[in-house]
């Protein structure tokens, strides 16, 4: 037999018992040819292109996953940053496009679409301002649309004015979606060093350097890593790193095979596998649980940052052996509301926002899916976001903030979104003022390490 009994059973254990799924197959679609001065016409062009180009994906994915014996949690679309679709630079214009995208996605059976995006790391165009102004309404009146802003980069520094604008926008979105736990904010993320080929939400967009259409996959698999660590028992860290690498190899390989087969069938290029460990709120599919299996009493204990650093690094090392097309964010995600062990740690007070911030310096993204009290000021929110983006800018990595200033909620309460977005306990934010600092506004200069030529 070509495969040993053990190899077959191990593969089945992974796909059947350890919550393994591929988190997302994301089709990236350029919308740069859909511009029109009349926003309604631009919307019609966007709708037509999405239906034509992305339409076959859900069917193709269903067929291939059935043949391979794996599950895919989400089918998603990433579109060109909508602020770059040429149309009249008024908020209403972009709303027409937002509705067209959402309608196309829902009709074709997609879970999310990313790309309601403005890239403003070194200043605003009129279109960027109009798009950001339209976000509260876009996020509160659509279902699948996700939105992002890139407000800083290691080459340009930090656009603090953009962060302030976003803080204001988030408060408004939180209010408009107050009936659903301020859900609108969960569909928005602000970045430093945003990547062009990220298949994960809310920050996916189809970068301007990419081909017309492309297929990306984003894997998941904390459950597989967690079980492997448990089976390994009390080995030392070098041995543990090896265990994680092997698990990451297998997880990534599945993403690679699936992505290539889907791309082949669709007749479009395959882009990247994002080899991030993405948790779900389901028990046994949690990055926090992985950290705890490594030997921590709770996520947030001393040692958490070190354990996460090692985990992220080992995942990357295992993953790059499995595919030559690594991309996106690739590391470990720590979205609080989407991770059962993190929810528990935050609720018990074991995990503070400060510890979470430290963890983001070694994970793949940032402060993700954290809820803060609804009454925090815009200035405080600006300072909170600026801190996180500064970590990314100085350290040449992507960082991001997906924060929900939960309207009407206080520390100790929680907001529930259901599904993959989970449940976020409202966490305490230091109330010391940063008002005079953030009111200075302007552009924080690029770090000295940006001068690399």
């Amino acid at each position: 037999m070509d495969y040993t009994r053990r190899e077959i059973l191990e593969t089945l254990r992974m796909t059947e018992l350890e919550h393994f799924d591929v988190r997302t197959v994301t089709v990236g679609v350029s919308l740069l040819d859909c511009g029109h001065e009349d926003p309604e016409e631009a919307g019609r062009r966007v709708y037509a292109k999405l239906v034509r180009v992305a339409g076959p994906l859900p069917g193709v994915v269903a067929e291939i996953t059935e043949a391979l014996g794996i599950r895919v949690a989400n089918r998603r679309i990433a579109v060109s940053p909508v602020a770059l679709i040429g149309t009249r630079a008024e908020p209403g214009s972009y709303l027409a496009i937002a509705r067209a995208i959402d309608r196309a996605a829902q009709e074709m059976g997609f879970d999310f679409v990313g790309g309601y995006t403005a890239l403003v790391h070194d200043g605003f165009t009129q279109a960027d301002r109009a798009l950001i102004a339209s976000m509260p309404e876009a996020l509160s009146t659509t279902k699948t649309l996700c939105s992002s802003v890139n407000a800083g980069s290691s080459r340009t520094g930090l656009n603090l004015d953009a962060v302030r604008l976003v803080a204001h926008m988030l408060k408004e979105t939180a209010y408009l979606t107050r009936e659903s736990g301020s859900l609108g904010c969960a569909k928005f993320v602000i970045f430093a060093n945003a990547v062009e080929d990220n298949p994960f939400m809310a920050g996916a967009f189809h970068g301007i350097g990419l081909p017309e259409v492309v297929i990306h996959t984003g894997v998941s698999g904390p459950g597989v890593v967690c079980q492997a660590i448990r089976r390994a028992g009390p080995c030392d860290l070098r041995a543990l790193a090896e265990v994680i690498k092997r698990a990451a190899y297998r997880i990534t390989k599945v993403g690679e095979i699936l992505g290539r087969q889907v791309a082949d069938r669709m007749g479009v290029p395959f882009g990247i596998v994002d080899l991030s460990l993405a948790p779900t709120p389901e028990l046994g599919d949690s990055v926090g649980e992985v950290l705890e299996a490594m030997g921590l009493e709770r996520t947030g204990a001393c040692g958490t940052t070190a354990a996460l650093a090692m985990l992220t690094d080992a995942v990357k090392k295992g993953g790059v052996m499995a595919t030559s097309a690594v991309g996106g964010l690739s590391g470990a995600f720590i979205p609080v509301s989407e991770d059962a062990a993190m929810i528990a740690a935050a609720r018990e007070g074991a995990l503070s926002l400060e510890k979470l911030e430290a963890m983001t310096s070694v994970c793949s993204v940032g402060l993700d899916m954290v809820a803060v009290p609804g009454d925090v000021s815009e200035e405080l929110l600006t300072g909170f976001i600026a801190d996180e983006l500064a970590i990314g800018i100085i350290n040449h990595k992507t960082t991001a903030v997906r924060v929900i200033p939960a309207y009407g909620k206080r520390v100790g309460e929680s907001v529930s979104f259901g599904g993959l977005l989970g449940e976020a306990p409202v966490m305490d934010l230091r109330r010391l003022s940063c008002e005079a600092f953030v009111r200075r506004g302007g552009q924080m200069p690029a770090p000295i390490t940006s001068l690399r030529n």
């Binding site: 495969y3 077959i8 059935e66 391979l68 014996g69 190899y249 390989k253 599945v254």
Partner: protein
């Protein structure tokens, strides 16, 4: 490896074992003869792992042991004209585990229908059935 290169290498090996003095032109001549021979045989000389175009499936059956399980599944496969390439079956503490590698190339059923038929048979005999193409097994266990 393409046909001509393989032939050239075989010719070189042959001539190495002959007495000294074989001219380089002899290598060429032997190569040409070998290429003709291979073409006439009409077969792919390249030593690949498996015949090209054949995508095998893995059928795994797990459950409590009782008589007739192997028969139940080989019957479904035979009716669908699916060839059993390899079979491995074991019993651990009364639990039955069977892995079959099958070749669905000339199957009368589509993949989805074959999977449904096998799953239905699994329900009838009270065992769990997993059916998938071999792609994952191959990729996950071989670097």
């Amino acid at each position: 490896m393409d046909r001509e290169r393989l032939a050239y290498q075989v010719a070189e090996i042959l001539l190495r074992h002959l007495p000294q003095g074989a001219a380089p032109s002899a290598v060429e001549a032997v190569t040409a003869d070998l290429v003709r021979l291979l073409e006439a045989a009409g077969s792919e000389p390249a030593a690949t792992d498996e015949p090209s175009g054949r995508r095998l499936m893995v059928l795994t059956v797990l459950g409590r042991n009782h008589s007739g399980i192997v028969h139940a599944f080989s019957e479904v496969l035979a009716e669908a004209a699916v060839d059993i390439v390899d079979i491995n079956q074991t019993i651990v503490h009364g639990n039955f585990a069977m892995m079959m590698i099958v070749d669905p190339t000339s199957s009368k059923l589509s993949f989805a229908d074959l999977k449904t038929a096998l799953k239905r048979r699994g329900d009838e005999v009270g065992v769990q059935v997993f059916v998938q193409y071999e792609d994952l097994m191959r990729a996950l266990n071989r670097i």
